[in-house]
């Protein structure tokens, strides 16, 4: 009996069909699209406007609107699109023409960038290229950004190079209904009987390096050296400058070549199971004589996995440019001169906090965050900024 049963099982095993391979099955790459919306309100005050020779209001309000779309075509190819509009209301810009509520009091900045990124087959390298355009009433800028990143097989070393070039045309007129073309560099209204500069282009090229290493399971470090070259019209043509004892202004004049070298280092580490310490230091040097030191501290704290609060503080100290002179203090023998307090000697402090809510499930919504910062400078300039960020995914 047992032998008949075994024989029956053997026969059944030969004629029974197992799982058939579906010959119509094909591998499909999962496409995904990520949408990021960024809105920010920036409000500034101060009393050292460079437009009026280092004195006068610096009140400024900007509404910043930005959209980023990242579309993964497949596992290797990604398309990047970014666009934005900044709506600017400036009390000091009004002083270019000394007309209250003139067209110069309000301006808009438009910009767009479209890029392509490709990953290598081993998924350890990324290459990308991203051209961009930016436009405001008094400039038009072309830009090109290229990057390469690589990680090792354990993903505990990561390297990268990022290069950018910009060509800025500082002529006004493209957004003017009467001209609709570049016409002229904008000088202060009382100084337009002279041609102060025979050039109108500014060129910028920079290269940044990125070296990151995971020190242990909870700590990583990054080094960010870079170098920036600028040439062309580096003065702002509507900035006034007054020599000592002068009643009539001249246009500020800065050297037409500038080299900048920033060196940054960042340390990120988990403190306990819920708090991250992000400590960043940067040293800066340029040939205008500016030396700057930045210390930035952010401490994201996870209240629950979805909710994080992010208090932060930043301290910055700058030795001013050798061409900076306060209002009516420079001798007429100076070849280069500016009263732009952004290039002066000062210390600044920024503090604030953010809150971030992230979805832990694969849903349409990924993240919402809100962030507030207050910044104050030792010369009296300050700003408040409130920013919101939304991140959503679609397929």
């Amino acid at each position: 009996m047992r032998s008949w049963l075994i024989l029956l099982l053997l026969v059944v095993s030969f004629i029974a069909k197992g799982q058939q391979q579906d010959s119509t099955f094909t591998k499909k790459a999962v496409k995904s699209t990520q949408y990021e919306f960024l809105f920010s309100y920036y409000q500034q005050g101060g009393n050292h406007s460079a437009i009026t020779g280092g004195t006068g209001t610096e009140e400024l309000k900007v509404f910043i609107n930005k959209l980023n779309v990242t579309h993964a075509i497949d596992s290797f190819n990604t398309i990047l699109i970014e666009a934005g509009v900044d709506m600017i209301s400036s009390a000091s810009t009004d002083k270019i023409d000394f007309r209250l509520s003139s067209a110069s009091a309000e301006d808009n900045r438009f910009w767009i960038a479209a890029g392509y990124q490709r990953g290598s087959k081993d998924k350890r390298q990324l290459f990308g290229l991203r051209p961009s355009l930016s436009m405001e009433s008094d400039y038009f800028s072309w830009g090109l950004n290229g990057w390469w990143t690589k990680r090792n097989d354990l993903n505990n070393w990561r390297y990268g190079v990022n290069m950018q070039v910009f060509a800025d045309d500082l002529r006004w007129g493209r957004l003017n209904a009467e001209y609709k073309r570049p016409v002229t560099v904008v000088y202060p209204v009382e100084l337009r009987d002279s041609v102060w500069f025979d050039i109108y282009m500014r060129y910028t090229a920079n290269i940044d390096f990125d070296i990151q290493h995971d020190i242990n399971r909870r700590m990583s470090i990054g080094f960010f050296p870079g170098i920036i070259f600028q040439s062309g019209l580096l003065s702002t043509p509507f900035h006034r400058f007054y020599f000592a004892g002068a009643t009539k202004a001249v246009v500020e004049n800065l050297p037409q070549q500038r080299v900048k070298i920033p060196l940054g280092i960042q340390l990120n580490t988990f403190i306990g199971a819920r708090m991250v310490l992000q400590l960043y230091y940067r040293y800066y040097w340029d040939n205008y004589g500016i030396n700057g030191h930045t210390i930035n501290l952010e401490t994201p704290i996870k209240i629950i996995p979805q909710l994080t609060i992010v208090p932060f503080a930043r301290l910055y100290s700058q030795k001013g440019a050798k061409y900076f002179f306060p209002n009516k203090t420079a001798n007429t023998t100076e070849a280069y001169f500016t009263s732009d307090y952004d290039l002066s000697r000062f210390t600044s402090f920024k503090y604030g906090a953010g809150i971030r809510f992230s979805s832990v499930r694969e849903t349409f919504f990924r993240q919402i965050s809100l962030r507030y910062a207050h910044y104050s400078r030792s010369d009296g300039l300050y700003f408040n900024q409130l920013s919101s960020y939304f991140n959503m995914i679609g397929k």
């Binding site: 993903n155 940044d208 990054g222 900048k260 340029d286 600044s348």
Partner: protein
Amino acid sequence: MHIRFNKSIYFSVITLVLGVFAMSCQTVKPYQRSYLNDSAMKMGLTKGAGIESYAQMIREGASGAGGKNGGGCGCN
């Protein structure tokens, strides 16, 4: 008030960094990356901080090293 960053501060920062490195180095295996893969451990600026960096770049003479590097705007 202007804060001076003198040689003792440079030396302290460099010593701190090297000390952290020397005492803490470990090889991290892929299955040990739960903390490192957290979004809060990502280097560089978050989107909101990036927008502030743009304003700072214009309002301060220094730029670069993780922030916007200049060009693409009407500012010097």
